[in-house]
């Protein structure tokens, strides 16, 4: 037997196996490290300080092998768990004392993250990165001097010319929102520099235009709570903090316990970071107005709700919004985490939660998430906290109702939708009598209107008898009519002489007997045309349209499915009748007359007709503004229809644009493949050639997109022009008659105009030059022009 050494028996397999085991062991360690780092600061039997100390020791040992991984995890934690900022800065601080080089590398890594986030327009990530760097000053990782330099550089953006105000605003916001963390340290070490910084911010805040603010307010008045623009609010909060000598007590600061160790460490200097120059493609976050509905008098005596200008209020709200952001995909988790808020014992938690959720729901121009997310999460909160939350929510509803007169129209709609939805989950139980003040009010006053619109929405979620049963007798006048069709061609002694009755009866019989669309059209051909003698479009026969639309849809009135099936089956008849915009408006008019008491049916059928291209968007818009619809003009459903019409157009344009982009991309990709192919000697497969889009196809798509965009522009022009006409008319008439123009009708209408701008601002943006040149000219009444200017200033 030859004496073989142990490793002679190694074949490649064993070595590979051992290497794989080492790799997978490394992976295990990495995963464990990641888990330890992620979970530090969470509920533990030991104190946070001892956990941090322990973790720092563990990491120090692994820094040589796992440096890159640890850097990445820590940076990720800083960005994705901003509420644990001070925990991770302490950890970095401790690591810095043990390993100066690692500290330096981390700072570099974080700075790189900041730069990349700014360039990529990841605004939240940028702000959290900046804040993290600021807090590292508290841990003696970064020198106060170099932080001041960094903050100054960030503020330079506010002095730039020819850039959007939203850009400047964001940079100021980013700097200001670091100060709660590092203000005290800067005050102690670099008081003068801090003063300069604040002065620069003050100058900017005073100089900047604030035209956009009225458009973003939920309430038009500042009673009882001022509705402040977000920067103004934060500035006031920082000023108050400054007055208190920057003594900030809300943020947990584990690094304080390690101060003696940390201050022995050598600090690093930050490399220079400048705001990346503005690029037209950059989109900055929209400004907002801070939503306030509660103050300490609304809440129980203890714990006290922090004042509007206290920095605590800012920190708590930011934290709660962050919880919503993290958990919005799972409403139960979201509710649980909100109720488990770290500082829940220090604040009237339910009030804070309700306030921030409504702040998001009412956010102008749009809530961050679906409205139903907020509705269903509030329900979960009620389930988890049944003895307190429902009362707070009821109190909030009461407050909103009492202040509804000055609420902006967009928020009014959302309040209506939310309340009806909420009631539908709680057997529609509500103490309506508490609101009987609104019974005697002008029906156009927001309060009675709210009741009426809520009941209409409740009707959609239930049925008519239910609505009648759920309100007290005093509220009977608010109950909507029964949602049944009003068919005018019933054959009886009253309608004997009504033109069209006989054909209608025949048509009804034919349809019931499953006639073809051609047969139906043939019956309609027998109808005389009341417009025959006029010079107008002889093809347009309003009687034909009326008889057909009313009869068919009356027969199909049982349900949406029935109506959809009928419209589909007789699609060609519809298309033949709807040859002109005027004809399409006739169709809408007949539809309205039949279904005026079933608003939901109207919305759904018009949506279907748009989809099947029976009516055009412009026809719907003109119909909404027509004289015949003036009695419906301030009703919510009509605007539901307008907005769904605009959205359909926008979706269409977006889709064409997207398809064009994709096809162009495929074309250039294939072209470069082809050119490679040629140099290779043409070894391409035939499959690739089939997929190849041609220049011709791209051109055709471009044309289609142009046409769609022209249609979209035209739609907006029609809508805005009609608004201008109708509002100007009103203003002139009031002026002539010497009465106050500020009627309820006026407030609703100007509110609806603003709603179109805000809801569709991204699309309208594209045409603002045309709008300014053609419609919103200087000679327009300033009240109307103002709305336009507010819209422009939103992204200016």
């Amino acid at each position: 037997m030859s004496r073989r050494r142990a490793h002679d028996n190694d074949d490649g397999y064993d070595r590979a196996y051992r290497k794989r085991r080492r790799v997978s062991e490394n992976q295990e360690i990495e995963d464990r490290l990641e888990s330890l780092i992620l979970r530090v600061g969470e509920k533990s039997t030991a104190s946070i300080e001892s956990n941090l100390e322990g973790l720092a020791s563990v990491l120090e040992a692994d820094l040589s092998t796992f440096r890159a991984k640890v850097l990445r995890i820590l940076t990720d934690c800083a960005i994705k768990m901003p509420e644990k900022c001070t925990i991770y800065t302490t950890l970095v601080g401790l690591l810095n004392t043990k390993n100066y080089n690692f500290g330096g590398e981390f700072v570099e890594h974080m700075v790189r993250t900041l730069k990349e986030s700014l360039k990529a327009c990841n605004w939240d990530a940028s702000r959290y990165a900046l804040r993290f760097l600021a807090d590292l000053v508290n841990c003696h990782v970064i020198s106060a001097n170099s932080l001041i330099q960094l903050l100054d550089n960030m503020l330079d953006a506010a002095k730039e010319d020819g850039v959007p105000n939203v850009r400047k605003g964001w940079y100021v916001f980013a700097v200001l929102s670091c100060l709660p963390w590092v203000g005290r340290e800067l005050y102690e070490k670099k008081e003068q520099a801090l003063e300069m910084l604040l002065m620069n911010i003050d100058v900017y805040l005073n100089k900047r235009p604030k035209k956009h603010v009225p458009a973003l307010r939920v309430w038009a008045v500042d009673e009882p709570h001022p509705q402040e623009e977000y920067l103004d609010c934060l500035w006031a909060q920082i000023m108050k903090l400054k007055q208190d000598n920057w003594a900030e007590k809300h943020i947990p600061r584990p690094y304080l316990a390690f101060d003696s160790i940390l201050c022995e460490a050598l600090q690093h200097n930050l490399p220079t970071v400048l705001p990346p120059p503005h690029h037209d493609s950059y989109e900055y976050p929209m400004p907002w107005v801070v939503f306030r509905m509660f103050d300490y008098t609304d809440c129980p005596e203890t714990p006290v709700l922090p004042g509007a200008h206290s920095i605590e209020r800012f920190l708590i709200e930011e934290h709660l919004h962050q919880i919503v952001e993290t958990y919005h995909w799972e409403r139960k988790d979201c509710a649980a985490h909100l109720l488990n808020f770290t500082h829940k014992l220090k604040i009237p938690l339910e009030y804070c939660i309700v306030e921030i959720l409504f702040a998001e729901l009412f956010n102008v121009p749009a809530p961050r998430y679906l409205e139903i997310f907020y509705g269903s999460t509030l329900i979960e909160l009620c389930k988890l906290q049944p003895s307190t939350l429902p009362q707070v929510l009821a109190q909030a509803t009461e407050i909103l109702f009492m202040r509804i007169e000055s609420m902006n129209v967009t928020c009014f709609d959302r309040f209506v939708n939310w309340f009806a939805y909420h009631l539908s989950n709680f057997q529609f139980r509500w103490s309506w009598e508490d609101w009987d003040c609104c019974i005697e009010r002008d029906p156009e006053h927001p309060q009675p209107k709210f009741i009426r619109e809520v009941l209409l929405k409740c009707l959609r979620l239930s049925y008519h008898q239910r609505i009648t049963d759920m309100v007290p007798p005093s509220f009977q006048k608010f109950i909507p009519p029964e949602p049944v069709p009003k068919y005018k061609y019933h054959a009886n002694e009253d309608t004997i002489y009504l033109p069209g009755v006989q054909v209608a009866t025949q048509l009804m019989k034919a349809i019931r007997e499953k006639c073809t669309p051609e047969e139906a059209a043939a019956l309609l051909a027998e109808l005389p045309n009341p417009l025959q003698d006029e010079d107008g479009d002889a093809r347009l026969n309003p009687l034909k349209i009326d008889v057909f639309v009313q009869t068919l849809l009356f027969l199909a009135s049982k349900s949406f499915s029935h109506a959809f099936a009928a419209i589909s089956k007789f699609h060609i008849v519809f298309k033949a009748l709807a040859e002109s915009e005027e004809a399409q408006i006739c169709i809408l008019r007949s539809l309205f007359e039949l279904w005026r008491n079933h608003q939901q049916m109207l919305c759904v059928l018009i949506d279907k007709m748009l989809k099947l291209q029976i009516v055009e968007c412009s026809a719907v818009a003109n119909w909404i503004f027509s004289k015949e619809m003036s009695s419906e003009f301030t009703k919510l459903y009509l605007w539901e229809i307008l907005h769904l019409t605009i959205k359909k157009m926008s979706k269409h344009v977006s889709r064409l644009g997207r398809e064009l982009g994709e096809t162009r991309e495929r074309l250039t990709r294939v072209e470069s493949d082809d050119s490679e192919e040629e140099s290779d000697g043409g070894t391409g497969t035939s499959k690739r050639k089939e997929d190849k889009p041609t220049e011709e196809i791209v051109e055709r798509m471009e044309e289609k997109l142009e046409v769609a965009q022209a249609d979209q522009k035209n739609l907006f022009l029609i809508i805005f022009q009609r608004f201008i006409m109708i509002l100007s008319e009103h203003l002139v008439r009031c002026d002539t008659d010497g009465i106050d123009f500020n009627t309820y009708w006026y407030k609703w209408t100007i509110g609806r105009l603003q709603q179109v701008f805000l809801t569709h601002h991204e699309q309208v943006q594209r045409y603002s030059n045309t709008l300014e040149t053609l419609l919103f000219t200087q000679d327009l009444d300033p009240h109307i022009l103002d709305v336009f200017h507010q819209f422009i200033s939103l992204r200016a």
Partner: protein
């Protein structure tokens, strides 16, 4: 990093026994589907009510009401088809487990509507669950069919107010 799992959107353990295809195929379809099964509806819940609630998650492509096989009347379920998966997922997140017509409704992924699937598969024409249940449910015909027969009570017996 703060890996937020999304259990609301996961597949349930239900698999359609009448599905034509393999389990794997069914699961693939379920994971890509834009169609949802909606259950525990009252027999009186209308298409309109369903529309109103479910359109809060996105544009509805179509609703197919579940019908009693013999009576052709609603028997307490429906299929909900959205245009996009994202809208259907939002439905699973925010509508599943909330109330419609005073009842807690349930939504679940469906592999896709096929003609014939709109009918109840219970022996008496409604849903299977209504054959065997023993409780009294005023919105779903009263007692379960088997119980009703045994007791000799008319299905929709004395509606206790």
């Amino acid at each position: 990093m703060t890996t937020v799992t999304s259990p609301s959107v996961e597949l349930s353990s239900y698999r359609d026994q009448h599905f034509k295809g393999s389990r794997a195929e069914q699961e693939r379809l379920l994971r890509e589907s834009t169609t949802l099964y909606v259950g525990n509806l009252s027999f009186h819940t209308t298409e309109e009510q369903i529309y109103e609630l479910f359109s809060k998650c996105g544009d509805i492509k179509r609703i197919i009401m579940g019908l009693d096989k013999y009576k052709k009347t609603p028997c307490g379920f429906c299929f909900m088809e959205y245009y996009t998966r994202a809208d259907a997922e939002n439905c699973m997140r925010y509508v599943n487990g909330t109330r419609l017509d005073d009842r807690i409704i349930r939504t679940d992924w469906d592999a896709g509507f096929v003609e014939g699937r709109q009918y109840g598969r219970g022996k008496t024409g409604g849903q299977v669950r209504d054959e065997y249940r023993t409780d009294f449910d005023g919105g779903r015909g009263g007692y379960g069919k088997l119980v009703a027969q045994k007791v000799g009570a008319p299905e929709m017996g004395f509606i206790v107010q």
